[in-house]
Amino acid sequence: MPEGRAELAVGEDQFLWQAAGRAGIALPSRCRIGWCLSCAARLLAPGEVDQGAARRYFAEDRAAGFILPCTARPRSDLIVLTHQAEAMRQHRLGLGLPASLG
């Protein structure tokens, strides 16, 4: 897992993953439509995210602070910890929610 901090601006209609890529930050992602959890990240402070474009995102994900940057449109300033695919998978499985194994 990479280390370090980065700060970036995300346009209103941009996805977080897309903005990171344009800023030279290569975040993981496989499906790029909010299904596979490869890009999963976690909010380190309260923030607003529109996950309406994700194919599979649950209220429980939001409550636990998990987001899917490939389909996440920030609606406030965010502090995000990336590379949380396994943590999000375990969160889903622990609650009996569907989770990709990939």
Partner: protein
């Protein structure tokens, strides 16, 4: 290379074929998990390609044929992956919805509206997800697990060709442009030149 765990004479509780690749550095549990996710995605795509192809591309006979090639080859991939999962000591869920939910790529559900452009876009992105998925398996196994690597590389070859087909078709249909795939049609539907190397072979 670490020494492989010893499997005793006549011992059925372990597999030399697994311990040897584990000793070479393969995370076998992770590999099994990813193979199940990829198997679910291939299985799911063969289902959804039916709904898209057979029901909603009327009037686009050439698109239908090419989609059918991709569907049959994805089915061949599914059939190729499953034996390897069991060889490695894994197993498929005994429940189809559970299996579906474990897929590493999203189901290719019919887009709304189901225009040729929307369908081709969805098929293109579906193939791209498959390319990323099989690239991951190649990365996990290269130089360590030749059997899984060989299988993954064969599948990856076909997924890359499928992407080229859908780029060509979408460029034509959506943008009125020519972006050749560089390929001619398969000899027959579902030929799967890389992954189905022996007709009717399904261990």
């Amino acid at each position: 290379m670490a020494e492989a765990k010893k499997i005793g004479y006549g011992d059925l509780s372990g597999r030399v074929g697994v311990e040897e690749i584990r000793a070479r550095g393969v995370d076998v549990d992770k590999l099994i998990r990813k193979l199940i996710a990829n198997a679910a995605a291939e299985f799911s795509s063969t289902y959804y390609y039916y709904t898209i192809l057979r029901m909603h591309l009327a009037g686009y006979e050439d698109y239908k044929e090419i989609c059918e090639d991709a569907r049959l080859e994805d089915r061949a991939h599914w059939e190729l992956i499953v034996p390897r999962i069991y060889e490695l000591g894994g197993e498929l869920p005994n429940d189809l919805p559970t299996f579906h939910n474990q897929a590493g790529c999203a189901p290719a559900k019919l887009p709304d509206p189901p225009t040729a452009v929307n369908i081709l876009t969805l098929l293109l992105e579906s193939e791209r997800c498959a390319i990323r998925s099989w690239g991951e398996i190649c990365d996990l196994t290269v130089g360590k697990d030749p059997r899984t690597y060989d299988m993954a590389a064969r599948i990856l070859n076909e997924e890359i060709e499928h992407e080229a087909w859908f780029i060509e078709l979408l460029a034509h249909e959506r943008d009125g442009k020519s972006i050749p795939s560089g390929h001619f049609r398969r000899g027959e539907p579902g030929e799967a030149p890389y992954s189905k190397n022996r007709r009717f072979y399904n261990p």
